[in-house]
Structure formats: structure tokens, C-alpha cells
């Protein structure tokens, strides 16, 4: 009870009575942080639900352009990364400094693979002109029908990327001036009626997966930080909270994806 707690380990903060109190408090803090994260993503999931009720056809049509194989692959990659995080926590529990670093680097690599696949998927959206908004003014949102419709119409040409618009029309994508896509002749040949809400679906797709990716990037930063701390020998068998709490955070980010994958790709 006295100020001078000489028995306290060096990593005990002076305002805590003992390590048990410190551990319980920090663990509780992390869980509360997760709670606010759930509400943070909850706003997006709420918007998703709201518009799904309003525009079920748009969701179905929109998701036809997402590749469930890539989504599944990413799911597997992320779950594997959760496993490596668990190994890292296990190593920390045994006081193996190199084990922590090894498994965290493995997590970082798997996270990188996830982001790589995500980049490929985002790139495909660009090729298909499915990026809403004014981010790419030269390639605005342009709906050509669902993937099945486009493939059935025979415009897809996988050998040269997905140029599903009519090759007989004026020029290729590269030399169409910005804004020319909206000209009557071009639209008639290339565009089908846009289901109401289809752009909303893609807005949500990018907002949700983007926010998830942002959390992964933050997680990558934390991994590097923890690796530096571990390298400096900051952890031991009794003291490894950073590793453990990062593990919780990473699992949370995974779980968000576990919800995003079926909601966006499958149903």
C-alpha cells in the first residue's frame, strides 16, 4: 500500500498497486476499444443493411463482379495470419523473443499477401469501370450489366484484359476522351440500364473493405513497432502485453473480414 513499492517489476506503472491490477486494467481497456470498433464498423454495416433492403437487385448484380475465389483465398490468408499471431503470443508466453519476431513477421507477410490480392481486386474494378465517384475522372463509373450478361453478350476478351465494350465502336478505351463515354452512340453500344442503387453498392464495397484495409495497415505498423520492442528485449515470460493485445486487435480485424466476405461476395 505504500508509495515505495520496491518489489514492483520495472514494467509496472507507478500508479497501479500491483501487476494484476495493471494487467486487468489494460486488458479491460483493450476490450472497450474493441467495443467502440464494433460500433465504428456498425455504422457501415447499418448502411449496408439499409440499402440492401432498398436495393436487393443492385446488390446481386453488383456482387457478380466480385470474385468469390479471390475472396475465399483472402479469407484463408487472413485466418492463417490469425494463427501465426497465436503462435507469436505462444512464443511470448514462453519468453522466446525470436519466436515473437518470427511469427509476427509471418503475420506481416500474410497481411501483405492479403493486401496484394485486394489490390488485384481493386484493379479489376478499375478495369471494369466500377469505381464510383470522381477519383478517376478518366474512367468514371460505367455499368455494363452483370458479369453473366456481359460474358453472354460475348464482349469479354480475357486475352487483352476485360474489354467488354464493343470493339467496333470508336476506338479503344485508351483514346476515348474523358466524358466521351456518355455520348449517345457510345452509351447505346456499351451501356445497359444501371440498376438503382448499384453505385451505392460499390460505394459501400469500397468504404467497408477500405476501412478494413486501413485497419490492417495500422496493424502492420503495430507489428513493426512490437518487433522493435521485442528485439530490444522489452518482453519476458511475465510481461508481453503488447503482443497479446495486438493479437486481440488482429483477430478483431479478421472477424470484420469474416463478416465482410459473405455479405459482399456471397449473398
Amino acid at each position: 500500500m505504500s508509495h515505495e513499492n520496491t518489489d514492483a517489476p520495472p514494467y509496472q506503472q507507478h500508479f497501479f498497486e500491483n501487476m494484476q491490477q495493471q494487467n486487468q486494467a489494460t486488458m479491460f481497456g483493450i476490450w472497450l476499444f474493441m467495443a467502440q470498433e464494433i460500433l465504428f464498423f456498425g455504422g457501415l454495416f447499418g448502411a449496408y443493411t439499409w440499402y440492401r433492403i432498398n436495393y436487393p437487385e443492385a446488390y446481386e448484380a453488383g456482387s457478380s463482379w466480385l470474385d468469390p475465389k479471390l475472396g475465399l483465398l483472402n479469407t484463408v490468408v487472413l485466418i492463417a495470419s490469425s494463427l501465426t499471431v497465436v503462435f507469436s503470443v505462444h512464443a511470448a508466453r514462453q519468453g522466446r523473443k525470436n519466436g515473437i519476431i518470427l511469427w509476427l513477421v509471418a503475420t506481416l507477410i500474410l497481411g501483405g499477401v492479403f493486401m496484394g490480392i485486394k489490390t488485384v481486386e481493386y484493379g479489376a474494378k478499375y478495369d471494369h469501370s466500377l469505381i464510383p465517384g470522381k477519383i478517376f475522372p478518366e474512367n468514371p463509373f460505367n455499368w455494363h450489366g452483370t458479369k453473366e450478361q456481359v460474358e453472354a453478350a460475348g464482349h469479354a476478351d480475357h486475352s487483352t484484359g476485360l474489354k467488354y465494350y464493343d470493339k467496333a465502336s470508336e476506338g479503344t478505351k485508351g483514346n476515348i476522351k474523358p466524358g466521351a463515354w456518355a455520348s449517345d452512340t457510345y452509351v447505346k453500344k456499351t451501356q445497359v440500364a444501371e440498376p438503382k442503387g448499384i453505385q451505392i453498392y460499390y460505394c459501400l464495397y469500397f468504404a467497408m473493405t477500405g476501412m478494413h484495409a486501413l485497419h490492417m495497415i495500422i496493424g502492420a505498423g503495430i507489428i513493426i513497432w512490437i518487433c522493435i520492442l521485442a528485439h530490444r528485449g522489452r518482453f519476458n515470460k511475465e510481461y508481453y502485453p503488447h503482443v497479446e493485445y495486438f493479437g486481440l486487435y488482429w483477430h478483431f480485424v479478421d472477424i470484420v473480414w469474416i463478416f465482410l466476405f459473405p455479405l459482399l461476395y456471397l449473398i
Binding site: M1, S2, H3, Q13, H14, F15, F16, Q21, Q24, A25, T26, F28, G29, L32, F33, A35, Q36, E37, L39, F40, F41, G42, G43, L44, G46, A47, W50, Y51, N54, Y55, A58, P132, G133, K134, I135, K196, G197, Q199, I200, Y202, C203, L204, F206, A207, M211
Partner: protein, 543 residues
């Protein structure tokens, strides 16, 4: 220790600017918040003074509509996000919570400092948006106006709100953990001061409500900046969804802005009635009840926004139920006063003013929760008067009350009681003169956010502006009184009000950098044990 005038305390043990800016001491952080929010309060008040001046006459004389719109937006954004939300939690909560719990600091002191920096960053962004031309969306940022049509730096202001939101979330998180895990030995939940209970309920709303407005602000920024249109009707988006998301936070936020005030009032009423508070458990749990029900009433802001009539009915009924725990508090405070030996100190005057004004604000809230009446009163001055009675008559009074009550503890000095009373009474009169006419104006149909109006309403508007002048005078007296007191002798003593509570009985004024010289153990029978004089009578007890 308390007799030694030059005793080491949290204010004088280090005095460099760096020692303030990098402090992790919850008391210093509380003082830093106090200074910051006074700056924001002054800015918000000047905006209000300007448009109140404009409203003296029915025509546009000194402000054009655009300037007028920018001014009321600035008033709302600054006062709500940068004054009211942090007013009691971040200032008094930070300062008092560890003292009341008998601990050395909050659970995460560095996070606490980070929260202040986030708060200031958000504040600078919002002020930057004002300096770079202002925004005219109103503090509610309704779409599609904010996302598509409004001029000005909406992105910057929304980002400011987003950043400040995280300051609020992290403060709430810190408080919840501190209250759960850092209580002194023997201090169980039902011996806690009611201020702590109020902070607890508030913090839960901060942690669970604020992230929703944070993501909503992100969506506004994306829509405005990148043109992706989640709320854009041209793409099939629904602007009403924005209102749902916005009020899912912003209605509970109203309770963030009032619950801590309830906590302050409970402390002060008990202390100056010299009685154990009546119905302790009911007051404590009613805070949680308000926080819980508060999450399910947001729809009463959408009675005229195409929400279904059945949803409206449910939200109307739920809104009425908030009145029950609130009334429990008021009845318990009045029952505490009954038969007490009441001391009319400055904090007590503010507390009694709070009860009266909050009662008016709360009861007019029931008018607005009534579906049919709300259709008539929606977006009128009646609403403006209602929430100013709650926010100013309630929270600002509670903030002033708490500041006067804990001032001797925070700075070790006593203010001039007569001057403080003059300020309190002037503010009370000025406040009523400003806002009571607005109930009448609103009932007659004067819509909010207009800078011109028909001539027959001029008398009421002039009354309101006159009241604002009195109010400004009252606040000036208050600021001068408090400022001057800082240069007086630090002789307030450990427990000038003879109050219970660890911050009075176990800590010096101003407290030691580590709060207590000896870790307190709590042996009281119950909170507010004013019958047991041995608790607070030992002035100068060796710590």
C-alpha cells in the same frame, strides 16, 4: 502538510511549459482542458452575440444570410463539440475522478494526454475551417446539403469533429477502466460518489456512441471529397439514413452533455443540505438507465423526416420513458433539500438554478416528444429554447456549479463569494430573459436558423437580445472573479465546505502531484455520511 503555504503541489512542483505540455498528471490535463474550453466558449459566445445583435431588427442589417448561417453553424459546432461535451467530463472528470476513487491517476495517463492533443487538433481543424471562410451547414451537417451543396470547408470541419470524437472515445474508455479497476480498498460501487456514477454512465455513451458519428463523418468526407455517394439521392442514396446515423450518436450525446452535470448537482446538493443524499441507489442507477434508454430515442428527431408513423410512435413512447429516470433524480434532489440545513453558497445557487431551469428544459422536451405537437414545433425557436434550457440552463450551470465547488481544491484559493453570487444571479436572470421569449416565438411559428422575421415578433427578439447582453455581463463578472481569485492567498484549506469524499478528506488543496501522501483506505458507512462529523471535521489532519 496543509498548513505549510509553500507545500509542494501539482501546480508548483514543476513550472516549465514543457512540464505542462508533456504532463501525464490527470490534474494538469484537467486544467489544460479548462483553459482550452474557456477559449472555445468565448469564441462560440462571440458568434452568438453577433447573430443575436442581428436579430434585434426584422430585416438584415449587420449580417447577410450567408454570414448569419456561418455564425450559427460556428456557434453550434464550437459549443457542442468543443465546449459542452468536454465541459464537465474532461475538466472536472479528469481532475476529480482519481481523487474521488483514491488512486494516483487514471488507468492510462499517456492516453489521457493524447486525448487532449486530439481534442486540440480537432478544435484547430474546426477553427481552421471557420477562418478559411466558414461553413454554413448547421452543426448537424445534414445531407445532401453538407455533402453536395454547401460552400466552405465542410471536409475540414467534419474531420475536426471526427478527430475530436476520438478524444472523447479515449477519455470515456479511460474513465470506465479507471472506475472499474482503480478504486481504493473498501470503496465499493455503492459507496462511490454520485459524480463517479454519472461519469461512468457518460463514459459508456462516449465509448459506444461516438464511433458511429465518427464513421458518419468519414462517409460525409468521402462523399464530398471523392464523390462516392452513400447519401446522394441522385445515385439512389438516402439522406435520411444520414439523419439516423447522426442522431444515433447525437441524441445520446445530449446525455453526454447532461449526465455529468447531474453528478455535479448530486454532490453539491448533498454537501450544502448537510444530509445524506436521498435515494442514493436510485440516483446512481438512473444515470445508467438514461444512458441505456438514450440509445433508443434518436428517431424523435425524424418525426417529420419521412420516418414511418409507427416508428415515430415507438420513438415517441421511448422518448417519454427517458423522463422517468430523469424525474427520479429531480425528486431525489428535492427530497434531499427537504429538512436539510441549507447553506446558500455560490455552488448551491447554481445547483438550485440548475434544478429549476433543467425542469423547464426537461418538461418542454416532453412536448417535443409528442408526435402531433412536434409537427407544429419542429425546427422552431421552441426547439432552440428547449435545448438551451437543457444545455445552458442545465449543463453550463452544472459546469459553473462544479467549478465554484471544486475551485478551492483545484487551485487552493477561494474566490470572492459576493462577486460570484452576483455573477450567478445575473447569469440566471440573463439566461431566462434570453431564452424564455424564444419558447413564445417558437410557439407562434418563428423557424430557427432565419435572420429575418415579420415585424410583430420584434419585441420578443429584442427581449432575447437584451437577455443575451445581461448574460454576457454575468459571464464577464464570473471570469473576472475567478481570474482574480487565482492571485489571492492559497489558504482555502483542505476542506473548506466540510464535504465528504476522498478529494476533500484525504487530499490537500491543491493536491500533491501524486494526489495522496498516503494511499487512502475507505471505511465510511455510506457515501455522503454527513451525520458522521469525524469524517470532515479534522481540518489540517496530517495526510
Amino acid at each position: 502538510m496543509s498548513e505549510a503555504v509553500t507545500a509542494k503541489n501539482y501546480l508548483n512542483h514543476e513550472s516549465t511549459i514543457k512540464s505542462w505540455l508533456l504532463t501525464v498528471d490527470h490534474k494538469r490535463i484537467g486544467v489544460m482542458y479548462l483553459i482550452s474550453i474557456i477559449v472555445f466558449f468565448t469564441i462560440g459566445s462571440f458568434a452568438a452575440a453577433l447573430f443575436r445583435l442581428e436579430l434585434m431588427t426584422p430585416d438584415a442589417n449587420i449580417l447577410q444570410h450567408e454570414t448569419y448561417n456561418k455564425l450559427f453553424t460556428m456557434h453550434g459546432v464550437v459549443m457542442i463539440f468543443f465546449f459542452l461535451v468536454p465541459s464537465v467530463p474532461a475538466v472536472l472528470g479528469n481532475f476529480l475522478l482519481p481523487l474521488m476513487l483514491g488512486t494516483k491517476d487514471v488507468a492510462f495517463p499517456r492516453l489521457n494526454l493524447a486525448s487532449w492533443y486530439l481534442f486540440m487538433t480537432g478544435g484547430m481543424l474546426a477553427l481552421g475551417a471557420v477562418i478559411l471562410g466558414g461553413i454554413d451547414t448547421g452543426w448537424t451537417f445534414y445531407t445532401p446539403y453538407s455533402s453536395t451543396y454547401a460552400n466552405g470547408n465542410v471536409i475540414m470541419a467534419a474531420f475536426g469533429v471526427f478527430v475530436t470524437g476520438f478524444s472523447s472515445i479515449l477519455t470515456g474508455l479511460n474513465f470506465v477502466v479507471t472506475i472499474h479497476k482503480m478504486r481504493a480498498p473498501g470503496l465499493n460501487w455503492f459507496k462511490l460518489p454520485l459524480f463517479v456514477w454519472a461519469q461512468y454512465a457518460t463514459s459508456i455513451i462516449m465509448v459506444l456512441g461516438t464511433p458511429v458519428i465518427a464513421i458518419t463523418m468519414v462517409l460525409i468526407i468521402l462523399e464530398r471529397g471523392l464523390g462516392i455517394g452513400i447519401f446522394n439521392p441522385a445515385l439512389g442514396g438516402d439522406p435520411v439514413l444520414f439523419q439516423h446515423l447522426f442522431w444515433f450518436y447525437s441524441h445520446p450525446a445530449v446525455y453526454i452533455m447532461i449526465l455529468p452535470g447531474f453528478g455535479v448537482i448530486s454532490e453539491v446538493i448533498a454537501c450544502f443540505s448537510r444530509k445524506r443524499i436521498f435515494g442514493y441507489e436510485f440516483i446512481a442507477l438512473s444515470s445508467l438507465a438514461i444512458a441505456f434508454i438514450g440509445f433508443f430515442v434518436w428517431g424523435h428527431h425524424l418525426f417529420v423526416s419521412s420516418q414511418s408513423i409507427y416508428a415515430g410512435m415507438i420513438f415517441s413512447i421511448l422518448s417519454f420513458t427517458v423522463g422517468i429516470p430523469t424525474a427520479i433524480k429531480i425528486f431525489n434532489w428535492v427530497a434531499t433539500l427537504y429538512g436539510g440545513s441549507i447553506k446558500m453558497t455560490t455552488p448551491m445557487i447554481y445547483a438550485l438554478g440548475f434544478i429549476g431551469l433543467f425542469l423547464v428544459g426537461g418538461l418542454t422536451g416532453l412536448y417535443l416528444a409528442t408526435l402531433a405537437i412536434d409537427v407544429h414545433l419542429h425546427d422552431t425557436y421552441f426547439v432552440v429554447a428547449h435545448f438551451h434550457y437543457v444545455m445552458v440552463g442545465g449543463m453550463v450551470f452544472a459546469w459553473l456549479c462544479g467549478l465554484h465547488f471544486w475551485w478551492p481544491k483545484m487551485f487552493g484559493v477561494m474566490y470572492n463569494e459576493a462577486a460570484a453570487k452576483v455573477a450567478a444571479i445575473t447569469i440566471f436572470i440573463g439566461f431566462n430573459l434570453t431564452f424564455f421569449p424564444q419558447f413564445i416565438l417558437g410557439y407562434m411559428g418563428m423557424p430557427r436558423r432565419y435572420h429575418t422575421y415579420p415585424e410583430e415578433w420584434q419585441v420578443l427578439h429584442v427581449l432575447s437580445t437584451a437577455g443575451a447582453t445581461v448574460l454576457a455581463f454575468g459571464f464577464t463578472v464570473f471570469f473576472i472573479t475567478m481570474f482574480v481569485s487565482l492571485f489571492g492567498k492559497k489558504d482555502a484549506g483542505r476542506n473548506p465546505w466540510q464535504a465528504t469524499g476522498l478529494e476533500w478528506t484525504h487530499a490537500d488543496s491543491p493536491p500533491d502531484p501524486h494526489n495522496f501522501l498516503e494511499d487512502p483506505k475507505v471505511t465510511i458507512r455510506y457515501a455522503y455520511d454527513y451525520e458522521d462529523e469525524s469524517l470532515y471535521a479534522e481540518e489540517g489532519k496530517e495526510g
